[in-house]
Amino acid sequence: MDFALARTEVEIPAFHEWRVETSRTGVLNIKLESGTAEIFGTELTSNINYTFKESMKFAISTYHGCKISYTTTSPLDLEYISEETILKQILNLHLSIEKNNISNNNSNSRILIIGPKDSGKTSLARTLSSYSLKTSNSKPILINLNPQLSHFTMPSQLTACELYDSLDIETTTFGETMSTGPGTGLYRSQIPLVKNYGLESFTENLELYKCLINELSIEIDNKLSISNLKGNIIIDTPAFNVSNAKIIQHIINSFKINIILVVGNERLLVDLRKKLTLNDKVHMIKMPRSSGCIEKEPKYQRELQQKSIKQYFYGSNRCQLNPYTLHCFTTDFLFLKPKELDSSNMELMDFMNGDADDDDNDDDDYDPFAGNDNDNSKKKLERNWKYNNMFQIVDDPQETDLMNVIVSIIDDKDLDIKKLLSSNDIDEKEKLSIINKHVTMSSVLGFCYVSGFTSSTKKLKLLVPTPVTTLPGKVLVLTQMRYHE
């Protein structure tokens, strides 16, 4: 009888937050009525009606107090105001980092966030990135090293993104990337650098994971070396624990980390202090876990991943996209697949990666404040990786390899893949090594989804984001990700 949805008002006192979980089917519409408010650091404005759908879980927090109003098409799964927030600590942290930058001749900070699963690492990374945009003139670079997450892209990838705008709070991918259309109309499109890992857990191929981290850090250094205003680097990570000290050390050395934030676990901080070799200028700070952190059930995690894959092809609410179907043949491409190495046993992994770790130790006397990037990248440019342990070639892929698989398209314009494969001068092992080196040094141009395969004709039906007659690369990596339309 009453078609207009009732508008509910919520007053949030200063330093409190309103925690919300929308229902699976409902549409929540929020408007800021007065005061200041933010979601993970992204400031809300009263000029926009924000829409949240499909089990979004978030909190609106405020430093001044605010009033919001909302409508929802079905009751919220959860909704309460909490006074147990870590707003104070986060802003103290952020402003201290700014101060530290000023004291270091207006340099930038390189921040690594470590913590257990669901401790709020991503929220912290988002908030610090958004605050950087608000209180400095430089653009922060947000890096995701957790292949389970889908910052700006699909899961199974590692990304770096220089932020121009605040992060989009309505999508789980933090924003849309460029399209042929006007985008969301609210934010400029994000321009991520995407590196193909292809697996969901960093432990499944540590050599590849570490190599990609190193490549990312080189690209970041190159980017920073040509920008006048160097923004903070903020790195989100998977749930590392103390047994991952070596990989953490590798990240610290590669990115020349000067601030390590350990979220929600005092013990981890103490243990890491013992295990890590740190320059005395590296700050290690413990951040509390917010009581608002929710445990992400594996099922919810899956849903988020599926959502981000769907978003890649079809866009989001504010930016609807049209994918196309491309027909081609498997013989047009070189298919690769990341090796899945069983590494639940970390000691074994450490043993297997012994050489690479020795290389790391050479880096220990590196001083992140010595400044001169060139010297260090020279060192990193000696790529002594075990390239045979990363991707394997999938000759003549079959239906089980292909169906419903998400495929990464690798930029291969510097590599004549046909020529390489047909060469008689290079043995197979060497070829694989060259290919792997190339793939790890290149970035991902996009993804397609295998929606059909006929094994007799090797005919492939691909869902592609843009209407092309050929894909922009001939090297395709079959990721662990599956998608069902």
Binding site: L44, H64, K67, G185
Partner: protein
């Protein structure tokens, strides 16, 4: 070194060579050389020549420090040095100005301003008035934005004349391009005048000069807003401070330094207040302008500050109202301030200003100020904000905040620079756990970039750089809205995700540069120059460029779809017949199609907006086409872009500057 046994020439040589040490801003060196000059005033002309020589010969980055020495000697000793320096002052100053970088220029201008303030002893400016006037004329000329106004309708004349008409607007937006960097820099200089000051040597005379200047600033403000109690109190306090510093009692250097610091924050505060006035004004004018459907931001901080500083430093100490002599400027400033102040509801002031802000604690007797420590205390209080209300008195805090948002006046003015607000911050565990945030600190999140986009949440600084970014941002919104209207990329709503940039392009990608280039491109591209396009397009067609620069520009697609009504070309002979077509009917766009030739690639770059046009299959006709496209001599553009450019072409006869 005994003065009696050496000649002036020898002394000057020694003096000159010891000046080689003045490679950085060193108070000890400047003080010792000032003392030397004082003790050896019989060699005054030789010393003056030595210093002038040093200023001339030093590398540009070090010239300033020699000028500081000139300043120190003149202010601390006076005659005969002031007279001697006066001879070549114009030459010394302007030659230096011509060779140094912008930050140094700012400091030079600041330095110059202190010279114009009458000295306590003579009541006259430090140096010969004719020389100073010449320098002032020079500075006005080189820093005057109206010479080549770059982004806003913010030159004095245009406002005086109320010339907010199409001509002005078009010109100004046209001017936003790289060629105008120099002008931007000049504007920046003015803008930075008040914040980037040469470090003040905290001597008694210098402090008095500073206090005088601040008194004039406050006074000027009070002229516009006589009921501002806090302003009155500050005025009183500063006068008391002047008396104390001017008295014979000795004040330790530490205390003087401390006072200097406090004065700096009062200065910053005064400047902030002006910014706030200006902000309000800007908003208002913007509103007016939007009603008139104009797009440019009308008035800039730098303008006002320029007024303000010229006014307070200028020849006004006699009448004490601190206003510029130019009557027109005078009126503009007053009108502006009055209109702003009229909107400033008194109760909001009470609510927003923490009680201790400018007011001495009620228990103290301001007239009884005798010792400097007490004074420091008061000054400190006047510069520090209150702690944030972190209690749950939600209504109060919401109301307070709403008020401050609505009025946007005092909100950010307490301790203005980020550096000063963060002075006590430490990156340490205990600080992060325990520090209680003050309202100043929290407001950094909002006031470091106080200008917020109406359409999204993006924030911008209130300096020139921020104004430019905001302008680019606004244009981006306009383009996006336009595109939302025509539906996607003009393809009837069909929008696709683009490929990601490869690592090389990603490394090189720069949002701001990208904007700038696009603006230039849109402005400079002459659509008649079709051979250029043909070249470019064939380069693009020479495909597998999908990952190179094409891709990079694809990144702009969202931002850069044409429909910008500006141009600065000179060729406007043709196409007059379309003159009355002020609007393109964008709903027509999808009807304009170009069949894709067999030989051609499916993708082609529209060289006007630089967006990729992607072919689609037309089921009805059974062929591949580009929608919203037009083929001009073999070059394919978006139809909407082409029409737009054509229209623009006809409009470009009103650019008096070019």
């Amino acid at each position: 070194m005994s003065a009696t046994t050496i000649t002036a020439e020898q002394f000057a040589d020694d003096y000159y060579s010891s000046l080689q040490a003045l490679t950085f801003n060193s108070r000890p060196i400047i003080e010792s050389h000032t003392a030397l000059a004082q003790e050896n005033s019989q060699f005054a002309s030789a010393i003056v020549s030595a210093i002038e020589r040093r200023i001339e010969k030093a590398i540009p980055s070090q010239k300033l420090f020699a000028l500081y020495l000139l300043d120190s000697i003149s202010k601390n000793i006076g005659v005969p040095y002031t007279t001697l320096f006066s001879h070549n002052l114009f030459k010394t100053f302007t030659q230096t100005y011509g060779l140094v970088d912008d930050p140094t220029r700012c400091r030079l201008i600041k330095l110059f301003k202190t010279w114009k303030v009458p000295t306590a002893i003579t009541g006259l400016p430090l140096f010969d008035i004719n020389q100073l006037d010449k320098i002032e004329t020079f500075l006005i000329k080189v820093t005057n934005p109206s010479n080549n106004d770059f982004s806003n309708a913010n030159n004095v004349n245009s406002i005086n004349n109320n010339s907010l008409n199409n001509n002005t607007i078009n010109n100004n937006s046209n001017d936003l391009n790289i060629d105008n960097n120099n002008n931007n820099n000049n504007n920046n200089i003015i803008n930075n005048l008040s914040t980037q000051r040469a470090p003040l040597i905290a001597s008694k005379p210098n402090l008095i000069i500073e206090v005088n200047e601040l008194i004039l600033m406050v006074n000027t403000r009070l002229q516009a807003s006589p009921n501002d109690e806090k302003g009155q109190q500050r005025f009183k306090l500063l006068n008391q401070l002047k008396t104390i510093i001017g008295s014979n009692s000795s004040i330790s250097q530490t205390q003087l330094d401390e006072v200097a610091k406090q004065l700096q924050s009062i200065r910053d505060d005064e400047i902030m207040k002006l910014n706030n006035l200006k902000l309000q004004q800007q908003k208002e004018l913007l509103k007016q302008q939007q009603q008139k459907q104009h797009k440019d931001v009308p008035f800039s901080v730098s303008q006002l500050q320029n007024f303000m500083n010229m006014g307070t430093n200028g020849n006004n100490s006699g009448n004490g109202n601190g206003m510029p002599t130019n009557n027109n400027n005078n009126n503009v400033l007053f009108n502006m301030m009055n209109s702003v102040m009229a909107n400033n509801k008194p109760e909001s002031l009470v609510v927003k200003s923490p009680p201790s802000m400018n007011t001495p604690p009620p228990s103290t007797n301001p007239l009884g100020l005798k010792n400097i420590a007490f004074l420091e205390n008061i000054l400190k209080k006047s510069a520090n904000g209150n702690n944030a209300t972190t209690n749950n008195s939600i209504n109060t805090s919401i109301n307070n905040f709403t008020n401050s948002i609505n009025n946007k006046i005092d909100f950010k003015f307490i301790k203005p620079t980020k550096e000063s607000i963060l002075e006590d911050f430490v990156l340490s565990q205990s600080f992060i756990n325990n520090h209680v945030l003050t309202s100043n600190e929290i407001s950094l999140l909002y006031n470091f970039k106080p200008i917020q986009c109406d359409k999204c949440n993006k924030r911008f600084s209130d300096n020139n750089e921020g104004t430019i970014l905001k302008k680019n941002h606004d244009e981006w919104h306009q383009r996006v809205e336009q595109r939302m209207k025509i539906g996607g990329s003009g393809l009837g709503g069909v929008v696709n995700r683009s490929w990601y940039l490869n690592e090389k392009d990603w490394i090189e990608f720069d949002y701001d540069l990208d904007e700038k280039e696009t603006n230039n491109n849109i402005n400079n591209n002459n659509v008649n120059n079709s051979h250029l396009y043909n070249n470019n397009v064939s380069a693009m067609n020479n495909n597998n460029s999908s990952n190179n620069l094409t891709k990079l520009k694809d990144g702009n697609v969202i931002a850069h779809t044409s429909l910008k009504i500006t141009s600065n070309g000179t060729n406007d002979k043709k196409d007059r017949e379309d003159r009355n077509d002020n609007k393109i009917d964008l709903s027509e766009a999808p009807k304009h199609i170009v069949r894709i030739p067999e030989s051609s690639n499916n993708e082609v770059i529209c060289k006007i907006c630089r967006e990729m046009q992607i072919g689609i299959f037309d089921e009805d006709e059974g062929e591949w086409i580009w929608k919203n496209a037009i083929d001009i001599n073999g070059t394919v553009y978006h139809w909407s872009c082409w029409m737009e450019a054509k229209m623009r072409n006809n409009k470009r006869d009103r650019s008096p500057q070019r």
